[in-house]
Each structure stands twice: as structure tokens, then as C-alpha cells.
């Protein structure tokens, strides 16, 4: 449940963002990470950006997630 997913902020209006991970796009908020900017890579958990993350770390995590067959459903998943 505490797994966060790296994604890139592709739209940002105030604290409302649209994020992208491997072509999956969904809505998220940057309320908890006020310094986040358009184009930043962030960790998303339960619909919120919680940390900045570098490109290399994000790629490693995406590779890991890609192994999980159900990735289509995990864009914003927080299943326990």
C-alpha cells in the first residue's frame, strides 16, 4: 500500500497535475510537494506527488513495474 510510482508532470495548474508513467496518464496533485514544476519526475502515492525522483531511479522502477502484468490497472493503485 505504501508503494509510490514515478511519473512525469505533463500538465500543471496550481496544485492540479496530470502525470505520465510509460504512457499511462492520470490526475494527481502536488499539494504535498509545493516545489514540483512542470516536467519534473515525481513519486506519486494515492493521487499525490510525495517526492522528486531522478531519471535513473524512475526508469529502474518503471522496468520493475513493467514486469507486473497488471500494470494497465496500476497507474494510481494503492492496493494494500
Amino acid at each position: 500500500m505504501c508503494l509510490a510510482i514515478p511519473a512525469r508532470i505533463v500538465e500543471l495548474d496550481g496544485d492540479k497535475a496530470v502525470v505520465d508513467a510509460m504512457g499511462n496518464r492520470w490526475k494527481a496533485k502536488t499539494t504535498l510537494l509545493p516545489e514540483a514544476k512542470l516536467g519534473d519526475l515525481v513519486l506519486i502515492h494515492a493521487g499525490f506527488a510525495i517526492s522528486l525522483v531522478d531519471e535513473e531511479e524512475a526508469k529502474k522502477t518503471w522496468q520493475l513495474i513493467a514486469e507486473i502484468s497488471e500494470f494497465q490497472d496500476t497507474s494510481n493503485k494503492v492496493s494494500g
Partner: protein, 367 residues
């Protein structure tokens, strides 16, 4: 072979060799507890247990939010789901946890239980269903709590009065303290959670190292990081040291996400709370502060949280404390399976019992 794959394998072999040497030098059984469901799953999925030295045992501790949630809380959610004026908004895995005589899944047929992916979705549900009181089943550790806090603030600002939360949010460090304060524990060190630490910072575990003399190492979720984390712990133990260390520097800092911490602190206060297996732990559960009490489902429906009884034969509590391994439970694999779970550790995909059931069979046969 790609260069980075080769580098990763080199790191794994190096850590494995160092870990083997440290454990051989120790010459006694050591137990390391992971306190994160995602670590548990990664350890099993990647077969990490199969490469560990013989005298090193991993214990899956109270790191899965669904698993640590007390039965009394589950039964409260089910009672609220019975009310025609309520709409229950919950993260997916909670719906299959059995209560006294049923689970939310059976209630879902009544269409008053909705699975949400975020706290924002739960608030939106309240905006879209003004004739109902939307109760958000707010479980999870420090990673998840700030997301709940934000929507409570939004509900207050927008006067969305048909929204409330049943806070079962838990704090990791008080649980670790409780485990180490128990008489029968056998924990030599902790592999600390990665994404909880993004929020609270690795510095939060300093008190465990100082007060209990147990090594605490924060690691990410890749196999190489987990093995390096375990290696670091073994080397500390072998050198007779207990230190705090993070090897997840890509996202974890000493102080953590202060904006998220302030958000939690502004909305919640830590109170005594019940945990499955661990009982009542001082200042371990987050309760909404008085100024937000109208969004507190406990207040709104006048519910007093009482500890629930575990279902007959279920030993999830002992599993969560690292006192037994799942196959030692009489129900495991026979009367309790992921298809027909009795306890939450078999329900949640991150539960120790579910991981043992899914990945542990082969290894047990070899023993």
C-alpha cells in the same frame, strides 16, 4: 549482457559474499524484520530468501496496512456499510477482509461500497452523492495519511459536510517500539520501509537505534537494494554495532517531506490505538484534531473504537509480530487461502501469508 545488468549482478554478488562472511562470523541465528508490505512481496517474488545464509531469518512485520488493522475497525466499517444513509469509499484490498460474518465485498452488491484509488476520489464521491454521507475508510501508514489530510482540509474549506473519514491511519515507529518492548520478541534489526521514509525521513528511526540498540537500514524495493540493505545490517551486527543508515538516497532524506509532515500534523494528532496482534499501542494511531471533528466518522456516528476478536484459529497477530511463520498456523493453505481467506494477512496481496502461499510453497517442499 548489458552493462547495467552486469553492474547490478556484481553488486548482488558482492553484497551476498559480504553477508555470508558476516553471518559466518556471527555464528548464531539472527532475525531481521522488514516492516513494509512492498518489501515482503519483493523479497518473495525475487526469491531473496533462497540466497540468504542459513543462520539469517527474515520476519515479515507489521508493514501491511490492511493486515495491522484491528478486527474492531473492520467490524465498524461493516456496521456503517449497513446504514442506508452511508456510502463507503475504500481502497481495494480492504473490501475482502472478513469481518464477524461477512466482508465489504458481500456488501458491495448493495452498491453502497465504492472502491477508490485516492482520497480525492472519495471526496469527489461525496460531491457527486449529496444525499449520502460518504465515509472514507482511511487506512495506511505515514505515506498515505497526508493524502487523507489534504482532502479533509478541502472538505472543510468547501463545506462538504456529507464527507467524513474513519481514520485507521497508523504510525510505524510506535509499532517498532512496541515490538521491541515485548518480552518474547526475537528481532535483531529492522529493514525499514522505503516510501514511509520518503515522508517521515530516515532520521525518524534514530530512536529505535538509540533506545533499543537495533540496526535500522532504509532500503528501496529492487532486489539489489534489499540485499545490500540486509548485508549492511549483517555487517553491523557482526561488528557489534547498531547504526542508522539509508541506502535509498534517490528519494529518502534524513528529514523527509516536511510539507507532508506539517499537513499530517495540522489535521491529525497521535492517539493510543489498537493493532492486530500488537494490541493497544500508545500514540500510534492518527485521530482528526478537534477543529476537524465534524469530519471524524467516530464522532459523527458516536462510535467508540473497541478491539475486535480475531476469527477462530487465525494467527495473523503472531505472524505480524514475527513470532511464527505463516505455515505454522493451523489454517494456512488448508482452511485459509487467498481465494477463501480467514485473516487479513492472506487477503492482502502484501500480506505475509499471501506471499508465503504464492511464492513460498516450493521452498518449503525442499526443506
Amino acid at each position: 549482457m548489458k552493462q547495467n545488468t552486469r553492474n547490478m549482478l556484481d553488486r548482488i554478488y558482492k553484497a551476498q559474499n559480504l553477508m555470508d562472511a558476516a553471518c559466518e562470523a556471527l555464528g548464531r541465528q539472527i532475525n531481521i524484520m522488514e516492516v513494509c508490505g512492498t518489501h515482503t512481496v519483493s523479497i518473495f517474488r525475487n526469491g531473496i530468501r533462497s540466497i540468504l545464509p542459513k543462520n539469517l531469518k527474515l520476519l515479515s512485520g507489521p508493514g501491511c496496512p490492511v493486515c495491522v488493522t484491528d478486527q474492531g475497525y473492520i467490524d465498524t466499517v461493516l456496521q456503517l456499510a449497513d446504514r442506508d444513509d452511508c456510502l463507503i469509499a475504500t481502497y481495494g484490498d480492504m473490501i475482502r477482509v472478513p469481518g464477524k460474518d461477512r466482508s465489504l465485498e458481500t456488501k458491495q452488491a448493495k452498491a453502497n461500497v465504492k472502491v477508490v484509488l485516492s482520497s480525492e476520489d472519495a471526496l469527489q464521491l461525496a460531491k457527486d452523492n449529496t444525499e449520502k454521507i460518504v465515509v472514507f475508510v482511511a487506512v495506511g501508514f505515514e505515506t498515505t495519511a497526508p493524502a487523507t489530510a489534504v482532502v479533509v482540509r478541502e472538505a472543510a474549506a468547501g463545506s462538504i459536510d456529507n464527507f467524513c473519514i474513519l481514520s485507521g491511519h497508523k504510525l510505524v515507529v510506535p509499532a517498532m517500539r512496541a515490538l521491541l518492548s515485548g518480552k518474547n520478541h526475537n528481532i535483531n534489526a529492522f529493514l525499514c520501509p522505503g516510501h514511509v521514509s520518503v515522508i517521515i525521513g530516515y532520521g525518524a528511526f534514530a530512536e529505535i537505534v538509540e533506545d533499543f540498540g537495533r540496526p535500522c537500514v532504509v532500503a528501496g524495493f529492487e532486489p539489489v537494494q534489499i540485499i545490500e540493505g540486509l548485508c549492511e545490517i549483517c555487517r553491523q551486527l557482526s561488528a557489534g554495532k547498531a547504526k542508522l543508515k539509508s541506502i535509498y538516497s534517490a528519494v529518502v532524506t534524513e528529514k523527509g517531506n516536511t510539507a507532508a509532515q506539517q499537513t499530517i500534523d495540522e489535521c491529525f494528532e497521535p492517539v493510543d490505538g489498537y493493532w492486530r496482534g500488537l494490541g493497544k499501542i500508545e500514540k500510534s494511531t492518527l485521530k482528526l484534531r478537534d477543529k476537524y471533528s465534524r469530519f471524524d466518522a467516530f464522532e459523527r456516528f458516536n462510535i467508540t473504537e473497541t478491539p475486535g476478536e480475531e476469527r477462530k484459529g487465525c494467527r495473523c497477530g503472531e505472524v505480524l509480530c514475527g513470532l511464527i511463520e505463516p505455515p505454522e498456523c493451523g489454517l494456512f493453505g488448508q482452511n485459509c487461502t487467498p481465494q477463501e481467506p480467514v485473516g487479513p494477512c492472506m487477503v492482502s496481496s502484501e500480506g505475509a501469508c499471501a506471499a508465503w502461499f504464492k511464492y513460498g510453497q516450493e521452498k518449503r517442499r525442499k526443506r
